[in-house]
């Protein structure tokens, strides 16, 4: 395992310390590093709290700040945080408007956030509501499973709901808006190499020199199938096909396109994939109203990328364009 670390046990804490120091203008670190919180809170605004296993940086701590999250709870690498973290975060950032948890659909996250919500309620944090994201079309939807995984689309939910929260909408409105955005958002990923969890010390999976994992999860979970390496255009066609078949948008629909790197893929390839995805959108007469390219929801150093499409209307775009000031996403301020 080749990583820039000291001891495996301290990767998370040292990384969080570095993050908090580098972005001291935006965030502070909670006691025992249970959460990262926004430096200045807005009285009465609904507080957005997210979190999940670490290793997906900048998700979620990199999205704490004006226009997105109020706090993020970092779990161990690829392991959901624990309920005490959510309780501490909720207590720290609730300013009376209630707290909205944004949770990726993994049983670990869902259960830990649920216990956190129950405990927070017991401890008098006014109101907690939860939005669960499940945008990964690689997993077929079925009543015989726990449903789809929450992947890169989560950041779109965090951003749009974050902008709406900044405008003063109430908890119920934000909860339903978040569910609505999630329902219009679909993603799919592909891995060219595995990632290595520091504590495990070896790659999560192994791919042949000519293989890729189509439909991979953001923890290196196996996807739809392991296939021969293909050209970027063919990869984009399969992913966009699955996404668009599921969303079934009408011609002329505006969309937001996210080309997300998994951590080990250079910008050059992401922009090339962006180009491929945009050609497919154009072919279906869809309008790429906004386009975000970068490594935003990663799997440590995994090579590969995901494509996310959100169906958006003018009102969503107006929110998207509102000022945002976080470590990883910033404009307008």
């Amino acid at each position: 395992m080749k990583k820039l670390i000291n001891a495996v046990e301290n990767v998370l804490s040292e990384s969080l310390d570095g993050f908090a120091a580098a972005h001291a203008d935006i965030v502070t670190l909670g006691d025992e590093r249970k959460f990262v919180q926004r430096r200045s809170l807005k009285k009465g605004k609904v507080a957005l709290v997210s979190g999940g296993g670490s290793g997906h940086e900048p998700l979620h701590a990199g999205f704490v700040g004006h226009g997105m999250l109020d706090a993020a709870c970092p779990g161990q690498v690829f392991t959901s945080p624990t309920p005490d973290q959510m309780v501490a975060a909720a207590q720290a950032v609730d300013t009376g408007g209630g707290v909205l948890f944004i949770v990726k659909n993994y049983e670990g996250d869902v259960m830990n956030f649920a216990m956190g919500a129950e405990m927070a309620a017991d401890m008098g944090v006014a109101k907690v509501a939860t939005v669960i994201t499940d945008d990964d079309v690689a997993v077929e939807k079925s009543t015989y499973s726990i449903g789809r995984r929450g992947v890169a689309g989560t950041m779109i939910v965090e951003r749009l709901v974050g902008a709406a929260a900044e405008q003063g909408r109430d908890l119920a409105a934000l909860e339903s808006y978040g569910k609505d955005v999630n329902a219009r958002t679909r993603s799919m990923g592909v891995a060219l190499t595995s990632c290595t969890v520091p504590a495990a010390g070896k790659p999560t999976f192994t791919l042949g020199e000519d293989e890729m994992e189509m439909g991979v999860g953001i923890h290196g979970e196996p996807g739809r199938r392991r296939v021969k390496l293909a050209e970027a255009d063919a990869i984009a066609a399969e992913m966009m096909g699955a996404i668009l078949d599921d969303l079934a948008p009408k011609a002329g629909q505006q969309v937001l396109l996210l080309v997300n790197g998994f951590g080990g893929t250079p910008a050059m390839e992401l922009y090339l994939m962006c180009n491929a995805a945009r050609r497919i959108l154009a072919g279906r007469k869809l309008l790429a109203a906004r386009c975000l390219v970068g490594s935003y929801v990663t799997s440590l150093e995994m090579a590969g990328c995901s494509l996310t499409v959100s169906l958006v209307e003018d009102a969503d775009l107006a929110l998207w364009d509102q000022p945002v000031h976080t470590a990883a996403l910033r404009w307008g301020m």
Partner: protein, 203 residues
């Protein structure tokens, strides 16, 4: 009372040791059909329990078990944290202050109910429940046949191999989950064996 305390310590130590010894194996099982952290998660949890063990074992069985469960909830994370945490916490709630062997089956059944509610799951879905449920049934049948308990647990864990996962991360794999033992089932069987070993006075 002092022997009860020693038993609690022996059980805790045995469970923590077996988890520690098998951490890599559990992680490898999880790498095959999950995200490769089950051994790490469980070890982190039981290391934390052991760090508190001196205080914990002083407490009577219900508080002891609740304490273990709460520590697991706060330290394990992932799916197994809330589930094993709920299991131990509910065992603590259900068992009387001075439990006898006959109390265990009922308490375990209630704990399994709580796990199922938390996990929205049931036996047959390739999870820890596929070990816990037959273990409870065996306890109900014969609370004193300790060796059988270990055999049942081990066989039940093995039997998750050919199953298709419907809960847990492995469910994302669909048919590709078939052919691998479930990590949470394996860790459950290891814990059963450790507890039985402690009760029988092995070390």
């Amino acid at each position: 009372m002092s022997s009860e305390k020693e038993l609690r310590l022996a059980m805790l130590t045995a469970v923590a040791q077996t988890i520690s010894r098998h951490a890599e194996e559990l992680t490898q099982l999880d790498q095959a059909i999950g995200d490769g952290d089950h051994g790490i998660n469980m070890k982190r949890g039981f290391d934390a329990v052991m760090a508190d063990s001196a205080g914990l074992v002083e407490k009577p069985w219900p508080e002891f078990l609740k304490g273990v469960g709460m520590t697991l909830v706060m330290k394990v994370g992932g799916a197994s944290g809330p589930l094993f945490g709920t299991l131990f916490m509910t065992l603590g709630k259900e068992l009387p202050g001075n439990p006898c062997a006959g109390d265990v089956a009922g308490a375990l059944e209630a704990a399994i109910q709580a796990v199922q509610a938390r996990g929205k799951s049931e036996a047959g879905q390739k999870t820890m429940l596929d070990v816990l449920v037959p273990v409870a049934a065996q306890l109900r049948k014969d609370a004193l046949a300790l060796t059988d308990l270990v055999t049942v647990a081990a066989a039940a864990a093995e039997a998750t191999g050919p199953m298709k996962a419907i809960r847990g991360r492995a469910s994302f794999l669909g048919d590709r989950s078939i052919g691998h033992v479930d990590p949470g089932a394996r860790s459950s069987a290891l814990m059963v064996a450790a507890v039985v070993g402690a009760v029988k006075g092995e070390s």
